[in-house]
């Protein structure tokens, strides 16, 4: 008997509360709600705003500038919607809800753009290279008569450059670049000043290239990066025919021509990623002693 009475009481209370929601209660400010089918969407979403006991409903996309709400809102990008309502008793609290656009991408999302296929491979390989601290570049310069070979090794804050048996090691020591030039069995240390950033190949973007015949060809009009590097030491030099190849989804080579006056030098940079530790020579009285 007590259970039946208690159930009746709860039903009454619930019915009362519902009735109170749907009817203006004299002397109270309005309440507002933002309605949608969910909090995420793929292409667009309709947002409605409802209020109880309101004379006017307002909405805003920035929480500062409000407009009167008259029709449902249509959004196509990730958006935060703000709402409030007003009656003669005053203004409701401002509420907000965020609706996130979810892109269905089978590739890689880059700045909201889904890239796939060869462009994605180039993007990922460039990203890998920019995060790699240890790699080598074998360089060949073909002047038509003779091929000159050189080698660069990067090993963290160390690097080396060698041509034949000549070699110089560079060390970034707290922002100061030191060089160690090999002379026979010894090294000569020099202070080259502040370390600089001029790894030109890290400044390329994937969308500067067009894929064709297994090559990523640098688009015409995108040569500022390489040319600004070339002219640092060769004022009359210009680069052309720049192409990148990938092997196993990593950058395998960069090939380009450097033209100086009428002469053209075919230049190839072969990348490899086997770590090689560079040993800094200890020079008595030197910075590294």
């Amino acid at each position: 008997m007590k259970k039946i009475f208690l159930s009746m009481l709860l039903l009454f209370i619930a019915t009362f509360l519902i009735a109170c929601q749907n009817e203006e209660i004299p002397g109270s400010t309005p309440t507002v709600t933002i309605n949608s089918v969910g909090s995420t969407f793929e292409s667009e979403m309709i947002i409605t705003i409802e209020a109880v006991n309101a004379d006017v409903i307002y909405f805003s996309y920035d929480g500062t500038t409000f407009s009167e709400y008259t029709n449902a809102l249509l959004i196509t990008e990730t958006t935060t919607v703000y709402a409030k309502a007003e009656n003669e008793n005053g203004m409701s609290d401002v509420i907000n809800a965020t609706f996130t656009k979810v892109i269905s991408c089978t590739g890689t999302l880059v700045d909201g753009v889904c890239i796939t296929g060869q462009a994605e491979k180039l993007y990922l390989s460039m990203a890998d290279l920019s995060e790699t601290d240890q790699f080598q570049i074998s360089i060949s310069i073909d002047d038509g008569d003779m091929i000159t070979a050189a080698n660069i090794i990067y090993d963290g804050n160390l690097s080396s450059f060698s041509v034949g048996s000549s070699m110089v090691i560079y060390q970034d020591l707290d922002g100061i670049l030191l060089s160690y030039t090999k002379q026979g069995n010894t090294f000569i240390e020099s202070d080259l000043g502040a370390t600089t950033n001029h790894l030109f190949f890290l400044n390329f973007n994937y969308d500067q290239f067009t894929y064709a015949n297994d090559l990523y060809l640098l688009n015409y009009g995108q040569y500022d990066t390489i040319n600004s590097f070339v002219i640092e030491l060769i004022p009359d030099g210009t680069a052309s025919n720049f192409a990148i190849t990938l092997t196993d989804d990593v950058i395998a080579s960069m090939n380009f021509d450097i033209q100086v006056d009428l002469a053209i030098y075919h230049t190839e940079m072969i990348f490899s990623y086997e770590p090689i530790d560079i040993v800094v020579p200890i020079i008595e009285g030197g910075n590294n002693a």
């Binding site: 920019s130 360089i139 002047d143 034949g164 026979g184 790894l199 060769i234 030099g237």
Partner: protein
Amino acid sequence: MKKITLFLLIVLSIFTFSLVSVSAEALFRIDITSKITTVTHGVKYQKIVGSINYEGTVSNQVIHYLAANPTVDDQIHVVVGDNYWDYSTPAPGGWGMSNINIIADKVESRYENYQVVGGVNGDFYDINNTGKPTEAHIINYDIIYKGTTSTHPVAGFYDDGTTIFSRPTFTGLTLVVQNDEGATKGKIAIDRINDLPDIDGISVYFDNWDAEIPDGYEKLIVKATRTAYDDSLDRYFGRGVLETRIDDAYQVEDHKFSVVCGDTFDDLGLINYGDQLVVQQNVTGEFANTRFGIGVWEKLVEFGTPIDTWTTGAALGSRAPRTAIGVKADGTVFFVVVDGRQFNEGMEGVTHWELAQIMAYFEAEVAYNLDGGGSSTMITADEDDSGYITMNSPSDGRLRSISNAIFFVQGELIPKASDIPNPDTRPQFEPPTNVYLDNGIIHFDEVMDASAYYVSINGVEHYTSTNSYVMPNIRGIYEIKVRTRGTEAYQTSLYSDPYIYYQTSSDVSDILALFDYLAQGRKP
């Protein structure tokens, strides 16, 4: 032609009827109209225009004089040159004739350490046929030829700058065994040429033998770098590198010769692969250590006194262009060329008697006549290194093709490699270490007790007496190795570790610098 830059002195003086010299007997004098003197690299050239009066006979002459003292100037040497063919083909026996400028170029190509400063024509020769010289011909210790007449002296030139005039003593054909540096390991007498050896001896077949050497004999096949011979079986020369040993029947191929061993012959380990084998006349006595030698003819001056007692000789009494060599008491070597056969130009030429007087005038202690007539030529290197200047007026109106010539050269002397004992029990030098290249100069550490080194650049060895060497400025990829030259006490070392060097164009150097700059970059 390498650059000769330094003219130390130029003197021009003009005299009109100045009596300059009167010989001791007062039978000879030179009246100088003009005299020009230049000194280049320690070599003095003088041109005298005037007239001579010998025992009352006056003739107009132009006299050219070239002198240097290699006994006091260690950068000046006397070198005999030729441009003979390397092999018997296409020239019979391997001889040949060229003008003196070509011969001078050949000297510079043979000896990278030498630059020709000046020189004159040399021995009399077979002008109508082979071009072979009349007398002995010694080139860098190689006895190329013993000569045909054996009646005239030979001028021999030692490393210390001294000169000898004498008859060499040849004792028969010998096989000289040298290592790859040219150091003599031993000598073996040769029984005969183009015939089988005695049972315990050796013989040598040359490529002019057109039949097979029978099997059953060990044969050392030598790839020749040079051969020279004539129709006498004791006037053969050959130099080459041991290529292989065979027992089968063998016909000597072109540009090779074969050392054939008798049944019981044993070289006792003397001859090894890579050795250089030299077939030449063995020479003893004063000429055993002359680096260069060339035939001369009549003696013109002895003990400072002109000779006038000839009865036979090269057109003794005729006025002709003449060339002569003299040596002064202080060791100065000088050459004289007197122009002739150009009467209207004041170049009448001289007799032997007058030539002897002229050599005495120039203070010769001893002097000899060389080939003359149209062969008489004196050259000096052009000051801008573009070639050679003919100082005299050759009577043919052009440079005649001659057999050989004598030159003053400037440069560092490469000492003769020390003889090697057999067996060789000397300890071996250590290879030089710390090899590197800086600003076009190869550097390495000195090795204790060493006096010289060989710098190998792409397999071609260069001699240096210091611990550095100037790299040739020619584009290419070079493998540089250095070894320590042996001495009487030490064997030559092994090579140092190779040093790889790229000599590039300026553009490629700039591109390399660009990549060097790239290597200096760091990530942002």
